[in-house]
Amino acid sequence: MNPYSAAVATALKPRRRLHLWIPLLLVWVLLVPFILLLAPLVFVACLIAKVDPFQGVAVYWQIFDALRGLRVEVDDPGARIRVH
């Protein structure tokens, strides 16, 4: 199961703060037309590079899927960054 959302929070002290919650499902829906447009190009590129395009897509999908659970947190006096 792919991750549903990504959260990025940065706080550059003392003032600037940025809190992003990205619904990845919505991003996927928005990207579908572009993916469909680019699919033939990717297919041709894979054939030129002698790579199985379906295997390539599957591997990238698995990498995206594996991002679930990735967490990076940095607390520094100058900044605080969280990526979930």
Partner: protein
């Protein structure tokens, strides 16, 4: 010879792990109860696989020297598996170049031999991995969970 033991020795022979790693893995294997001793076969043994690699760093002085800083990273092992699968779609000519570059750096590793199934035992044994470094001003902890 036990299959796991054989795999570790093969990884050592292939240069994928060094002698210390092999010794640690073999010692970990010895700690495991054997299937015969437990009265069951290998398939029936519950194996708990580590899911994440954790790296925690605490430093009393941050990089700007203004105060303490902390880093907490959790990397899913699934990402490692997917990364290894990525090697399977590297074009053959690029793979040769990567192998040559690795060889020039003194790493005799053939990317085509890197397969996800070879990782499983290594990841399983990593569950006992713990690295603790206590310095005057910083602490580093690496472990699996």
């Amino acid at each position: 010879m036990n299959e796991n033991r054989k795999r570790i020795l093969e990884m050592l022979a292939a240069g994928k792990i060094n002698a210390d790693d092999a010794e640690r893995l073999l010692a970990a294997l010895d700690k495991e109860p054997s299937p015969a001793a437990s009265g069951g076969d290998t398939e029936s043994l519950p194996r708990t696989w580590p899911k994440y690699l954790r790296v925690m760093v605490e430093s009393e002085e941050g990089h700007v020297g203004q105060g303490p800083s902390k880093v907490n990273v959790r990397v899913p092992f699934q990402l490692l598996r997917a990364g290894v699968r990525l090697t399977s779609i590297i074009p053959p000519h690029a793979r040769v170049k990567v192998n040559d570059a690795l060889h020039q750096q003194g790493i005799d590793l053939d990317l085509s031999e890197l397969k996800p199934e070879n990782l499983e035992d290594l990841i399983y044994q990593l569950k006992e991995l713990t690295v603790d470094i206590d310095d005057k001003s910083s602490k580093v902890r690496v472990f699996c969970e």
